[in-house]
């Protein structure tokens, strides 16, 4: 999975999406175990040049924002993000349905996208697991997105994570 994130960074760089490349590579670097040995393709060396070009294209502020975004992603979130990037241009684009969501509901969607379980969300928001479940049901009804992966994509598309 991690080497695939690295490949996704290369794909974005090769297809003129520098912000996405920097974001995915930041997620990849953050998610690799510290001191892990294997890094491919041969690997940091081959990544350096396209990463440098992507950073140049973005400028310092946007690079920092993209890196912050990538570093904050869980593995599941990064995988969903990568799938979105791979699909973009070849599949129907997503129609974000955030407009009807309250600030609280957006916060829930963000936490789902960050990989939190209902119990973790409940603890973070100082509420019960049952309340979280019913709030998520309401969000699903409003957006039409049933799976957590769909909500993660929604959050990614809207830039919530």
């Amino acid at each position: 999975m991690l080497s695939s994130l690295n490949c996704c960074g290369h794909l974005c760089a090769a297809t003129g999406r520098p912000a996405e490349a920097v974001t995915v590579w930041a997620a990849y670097r953050a998610l690799r175990p510290r001191g892990a040995g294997t890094d491919w393709p041969a690997s940091a060396g081959r990544r350096d040049q396209p990463l440098l070009q992507a950073r140049r294209a973005l400028g310092p502020a946007q690079t920092l924002a993209a890196e912050d975004r990538g570093e904050a992603m869980s593995l599941d979130t990064a995988a969903e993000y990568a799938l979105m990037l791979i699909a973009s241009g070849t599949e129907q684009s997503w129609a974000p349905g955030l407009g009807e969501l309250s600030a609280r509901e957006r916060e829930l969607v963000t936490l789902v996208a960050q990989g939190c379980t209902n119990a973790q969300i409940a603890a973070r928001l100082h509420t019960s697991v049952r309340t979280v479940g019913s709030q998520l049901d309401r969000i699903r009804d409003k957006t039409g997105y049933r799976r957590r992966a769909d909500l993660t994509r929604l959050a990614l598309t809207a830039g919530l994570v």
């Binding site: 490949c7 290369h10 791979i86 070849t90």
Partner: protein, 204 residues
């Protein structure tokens, strides 16, 4: 109990599957495991278990950046495997030596060793041969021979699909993604990459 399960061969395969995600602490723990195995069986003389223990140690030492020590262990493993007539152990030792050669800036040596590993004729399961192909692709890429790398990768991918060999498929597809990208085939790269993520999602 079959000898493979009793000797640490299973542990070696698990190590090869997981090594990219292991932390320094976990690698240190695994090194202890294979050191214990090596020490326990070494007193009985050359054996399959000793070859596995040595290759396990070599793999971990390589991941810890101790390539010179890794090379010594893998060379010894190769000698033991040849002495006791253990083709799988011989292939794994050559596979490991190829990785060490690649990691120490000897891409041509890495290609030669990976080819040798894939040419061990008898007693090698298909999945092991495809693992050796995967290493050969790495080595060919590092040596700059992308055309041959692509041929080897396409063949190994086809064999993996036919055999339902998900483990090697998950390793080979990212290699094909990069080969496609370097040849300017972004759409094919995207298709391969989508397959990798679908495989990963299926495995979780």
């Amino acid at each position: 109990m079959p000898e493979q399960a009793a000797t640490g061969f299973g542990g070696l395969l698990r190590l090869l599957r997981a090594e990219a995600g292991l932390t320094q602490e976990e690698l240190a723990g695994a090194l202890g495991h294979f050191t214990d195995l090596r020490d326990a069986v070494a007193v009985r003389g050359p054996s399959r278990a000793l070859a596995d223990g040595l290759t396990g140690r070599a793999t971990i030492l390589l991941n810890l950046g101790r390539a010179a020590e890794a090379s010594g262990e893998a060379q010894q493993s190769l000698s033991v495997a040849r002495e006791v007539g253990y083709p799988v152990g011989e292939a794994l030792a050559l596979f490991t030596l190829s990785r060490i050669a690649g990691a120490t800036g000897n891409p041509r040596g890495a290609v030669r060793l990976a080819r040798q590993a894939g040419q061990i004729p008898a007693g090698i399961p298909g999945s092991m041969a495809r693992l050796c192909s995967s290493q050969l692709i790495f080595a060919l890429i590092d040596a700059g021979d992308l055309a041959t790398a692509e041929d080897v990768c396409a063949t190994a991918l086809a064999q993996s699909r036919e055999a339902g060999d998900v483990w090697n498929l998950a390793g080979l597809l990212p290699q094909m993604v990069m080969l496609d990208l370097w040849e300017g085939r972004a759409a094919q790269a995207a298709a391969c990459l989508r397959e990798v993520f679908q495989l990963a999602a299926g495995g979780r």
